[in-house]
Every structure is written in C-alpha cells, then in structure tokens.
C-alpha cells in the first residue's frame, strides 16, 4: 500500500447518492458491508431500503486496472411499524447487514432493524421458458382441444433480472433494540444482540431462538450497562464476544454452558483513577467490536480511540490508536449536541495489517499497524475527480494554523463518517458519509 514516498496513497473511484445538501432522513446510510468475495457491496438506509452494488471488473491485464461498482439490486427490506401493545414505534432503519457465505448460485444476506431480522435471497434470472403447450406466450390458457401437436418448451435468454425475496423473517425475539447480527462459521446459526440480550438462531428456523446472554437485572433500577455490539469468532463456532457501554468486552464459549452469562474472558483496560470524570464512562462505551480475519485479535472502537486486543491478553490492549484526540477538550459541547453518543464503526483490511474508522468533517482515519503510520483522509465531492489521489488532511490543535490545515473549531460535526467497509482481499474501501457512498482504491503504480 505504500507509494513511492512511503505514504499510503488512495484514489477516488466512485461516489453514489444525491449531490444536494438537503438530505431526506430516509437517505441516511446506516450500514455498509462487502460480501465474502468483495464482489458485492450492500448498503442499508434509514428508510429501510437495501441497495446492492456489484463489482464489474475491467480487464485485469490493463495497466490501470479499475473496478467499478454498479447497482445490482435494490429492495425495501423493512417497513415502519407500530407495536400497539407496547405503544412502541419501530423504525425501519437497517441497523446491520451481514452476508452469508455463498453456497449456490444465489446470494443471501441478513438485514435487521430494531426488532426483526430478515434473510433475503438475491438471485439472478437470465433465461425464461418459451413454448408451453397449454399456455400462450401472454399467459392465456389454450383450449386443449385445439392442440394437435406436442412441443418441448425451451429456455431462451432474456435480459438479466435480479430478484430479491425474503426467505425467512425472524421476529418477536427482542424486547430491546437490536444492535448486531453475526453469522456463525458453522453456516447454520447466527446471533442477534439487543441492549440486554443475545439470541442464537438457526437460519432455517424462525419460530424459535435460544437466549445465550441475558444481562437484564432483576430490578431495572440497578441497570448499569448495556450490550453495544456482538460478533462470532471467524473460525471457532463456539466462541463469540460482546462489548458493553462500560468499555468491557466479554468472550463467551457456548460449550461451557447453555446460558453464557458467565464470560470465559473479560477484556478491560483499567482506568487511571485520576482521569476519572463525568465523561469517562460515556467515552469508554464501545460502539463496535470486530474480530481480525485471522481470529487472533479483537478491535474495539470507543469515542476517541481504536484498540487492538490480543485474545490471549485480557488486562490491556496491545495497540491503541487515537482517532481524534483533539476532541478531548471539546467534550462539554460534544455532550450538549449529543455527538458524544455517536456510534462509529471500524474495520480491518484483508490481511489485518491496517484498520480504518471514521471521524467528523467527513474525515476517516487509517492506522497501519506494523509501520506505526496513520493517515487522515476526507470523503468529499471536491476530491472526486476520477483517480484523483486523496491528500492527507491535518487538524490543527492550537497555535498557528498552517495552510491546508483545519482548526478543530471549524470541523463540521454534522458530517460524520460512522460506517466504513474494506474489501476482503483488495485495497478497495467503501466510506459512507451521511447520504453518499464513496469508493476509493489504492493507487496502482
């Protein structure tokens, strides 16, 4: 990934979405996810819609090999609902999309809103049958008495049609709001997590699910923490982790007991008591947790940093990266405008050597683990000429502001990059601003 100067070099590839500043709420992107080969890229939005892009690979032998993602399928996954019994409005916003590994010609994904998970099948149709004996081409039935000869229907090619159909609906299992789904490596089960509970499902069975974690206290007055994210281990089908609003991560082994309320490992970095403040707990709340592809590390994102944990060491992370440390002396106003509660996600690259996360002002950050190098890049329409190399951005924290730097007070806190995704093999990244999806790829020399 290093260019001739030893710096990371990313180029603009594509941007999707409307240009106008007036953003309709439904268009706010709420999740971005590549499938296991990277050929498909799915987005979910606040309006409950899913858009899937497919990579169309231009000739790989060309010197400037570029891949383009074009719309493959789009459908309405969830609708707004109202639970009259509990007087609860259920948003249609797609909280998470997770792809299943491909097993046949069709593609499958799980999409979830606050209460209901759906398994969608996306399949292609490029042939249609013609020449039925009892049916005309327009569908009208033929009178059998008029048929004098038999013919064999043939399949003729047609324009590619991509169809999405809901194959399973997993509902009524969550009292609280679902924040995560994670497909197990056993290809049979998946978990869904809400604020207080985690359930285990079989992909085939919708009327039953097993509760595997329950942190609801007997007396709700004693509630001190909630579950913020959960994920299965990439290879060990018995292992999963969940993170909390108090900054802890618990690793659980489903072989140990049916109810995994007792963790097998607890990852927590002890806090320096002199640093304790009103904000400590809020900024330590983990907004995302991701296993590395090799299954040896865990990455967590809290408000100001990204931490890498070795699964074999529970008492502190092995690496900590500051995302936007300059916000530490803005916490008061970030609390007042609610930004302190923003939930940023994070992701690994294919070989676990680089991690990425978003920030404000449409900036996003990359940390190269081995090289101890990091970069701040910006997703904006101004840097969107084809193959334009992204210039590193710098935030000036005080004193004299250099040219091209931006001061902390000029940052636009409404422009947040919460969702990013990295192609599982190549250096192609998808970065979601409020309502636009940017695709960048590394410069091919």
């Amino acid at each position: 990934m290093a260019g001739p100067g030893g710096d990371m070099q990313w180029c603009f590839s594509q941007v999707k979405g409307a240009i106008d500043d007036d953003v309709a709420e439904a268009d706010i992107i709420s999740t971005v996810e590549f499938n296991h080969t990277g050929e498909l890229l799915a987005t979910g939005d606040k309006g409950g819609r899913v858009v899937i892009f497919q990579q169309e690979v231009e000739n790989k032998n060309l010197p400037q090999f570029r891949s383009e993602y074009n719309v493959y399928s789009t459908f309405q996954s969830h609708e707004p609902e109202f639970d009259y019994l509990k007087s609860l409005e259920i948003e249609e916003k797609i909280n998470k999309i997770r792809w299943l590994p491909q097993k046949n010609a069709a593609q499958f994904l799980l999409s979830t809103n606050d209460k209901t998970i759906k398994l969608w099948k996306i399949s292609e149709r490029d042939k249609r049958p013609e020449g039925y004996n009892l049916k005309e081409e327009d569908g009208r039935y033929r009178d059998p008495n008029t048929i004098t000869a038999l013919r064999v229907p043939v399949l003729i090619p047609m324009d590619l049609m991509v169809e999405a159909s809901p194959r399973r609906v997993f509902s009524n299992a969550h009292t609280y709001h679902i924040n995560s789904v994670s497909v197990n490596s056993d290809d049979e089960t998946y978990l869904s997590a809400d604020d207080l509970r985690i359930n285990l499902w079989n992909l085939e069975i919708t009327d039953r699910s097993f509760n595997i974690v329950d942190i609801k206290p007997a007396n709700m007055e004693e509630l001190t923490e909630v579950i913020t994210a959960a994920e299965f281990h990439p290879h060990q089908c018995n292992t999963f982790v969940y993170s909390s609003s108090k900054g802890t991560i618990r690793l659980c082994d489903m072989r140990a007991s049916a109810l995994c309320d007792k963790h097998s490992k607890l990852f927590e970095e002890p806090e320096n008591p002199s640093n304790r403040s009103f904000f400590s707990e809020i900024i330590s709340s983990i907004s995302d947790v991701k296993f590395s592809h090799n299954g040896r590390y865990l990455m967590t994102r809290d408000y100001l940093s990204v931490k890498i944990w070795d699964l074999n060491m529970e008492n502190r992370p092995v690496e900590t990266y500051q995302v936007h440390e300059y916000l530490r002396n803005k916490l008061c106003s970030l609390y007042e405008n609610d930004c302190i509660f923003d939930k940023f996600e994070c992701c690994w690259n294919g070989n676990d050597s680089v991690v990425m996360t978003g920030s404000y002002n449409n900036f996003f950050r990359m940390f190269e683990r081995g090289q101890r190098r990091d970069a701040t890049l910006e997703a904006s329409r101004e840097n969107s000429k084809p193959l334009q190399v992204l210039k590193p951005r710098k935030v000036c924290t005080g004193g004299k502001r250099k040219k091209d730097e931006i001061s902390v007070d000029s940052l636009d806190f409404n422009k947040k990059i919460l969702h990013t995704a990295w192609h599982p093999q190549d250096n192609i990244i998808a970065v979601a601003t409020t309502n636009n999806l940017y695709i960048f790829q590394d410069k091919v020399n």
Binding site: G48, V71, P80, E92, V226, F279
Partner: protein, 123 residues
C-alpha cells in the same frame, strides 16, 4: 476554587469565556477532560450524580416509546376548553404528568418510503 489565572481580555476588549477564569491553568493543561467536566457542571448544576449511568441507559432503552391516552386527552379538553392546552415540549416522546397529548402527537404508523434509494439512482 481559588482563581489563580488572570481573566483573558481579547483585542476587542471582551472577557473571554468567564467559566475559564475559575480553572487554574496548570490543571487545565494537565487534564483537559476535567476542565470540560467543570464547564458542564457550571452550566448544569443539577446534572445527575451517576455519570453515564441509569439516566442515559433508560433513555436508550425507551427509544421509540409513544404514549396517548384518549381518556386523559378528552378530560383535559373538557376541563380547559376556554384556556390554551399545554403544548407538547420538545421531548414529545417523554411521558410527563402534565403533558396533554394532542392529535398531532398521536403515534401514526408512517408509510414506508416507496421511493427508490438515491444511491441506486446513478450508475
């Protein structure tokens, strides 16, 4: 708290952020978060004793909750038919004893957006 820092005066002759007068410079430099906390407490003296505790979590768990009681509504309408009904505050979703819901506040199942996502609008 002793004020050991002189108030800063801008070139325009105004006193910069009076709250900062009450913090010693060394303390502010050593722990910017403590300074931020002091700022917040100065603005909201009644802020909860449990930092990041139950209040936040309860609010998070109650997301989406809407209330309407037609009995309350009709009784309130009858009682105050000549006076103005107390209108809903900015936090319409929170239940408060004296908030009388109006038909505008009624939870209405929103129609799903039948518009295609703008992401799919371009190639």
């Amino acid at each position: 708290m002793q004020c050991s820092a002189a108030p800063r005066i801008t070139s325009g002759g105004q006193i910069e952020n009076p709250l900062e007068h009450w913090l010693s410079i060394t303390e502010k430099n050593a722990n910017p978060v403590k300074a931020e906390e002091a700022k917040l407490k100065a603005k909201y003296p009644g802020l909860g004793q449990k930092p990041g505790g139950s209040d936040f979590l309860m609010k998070r768990l109650q997301k989406g909750q809407k209330y309407f009681d037609s009995g309350d509504y009709n009784m309130a309408k009858a009682k105050v038919k000549n006076k103005q009904l107390p209108v809903a505050g900015p936090e319409k979703n929170l239940v408060t004893g004296d908030h009388i819901p109006t038909p505008q506040d009624l939870p209405r199942t929103r129609k799903s957006s039948l518009v295609t996502s703008k992401l799919a609008g371009q190639i």
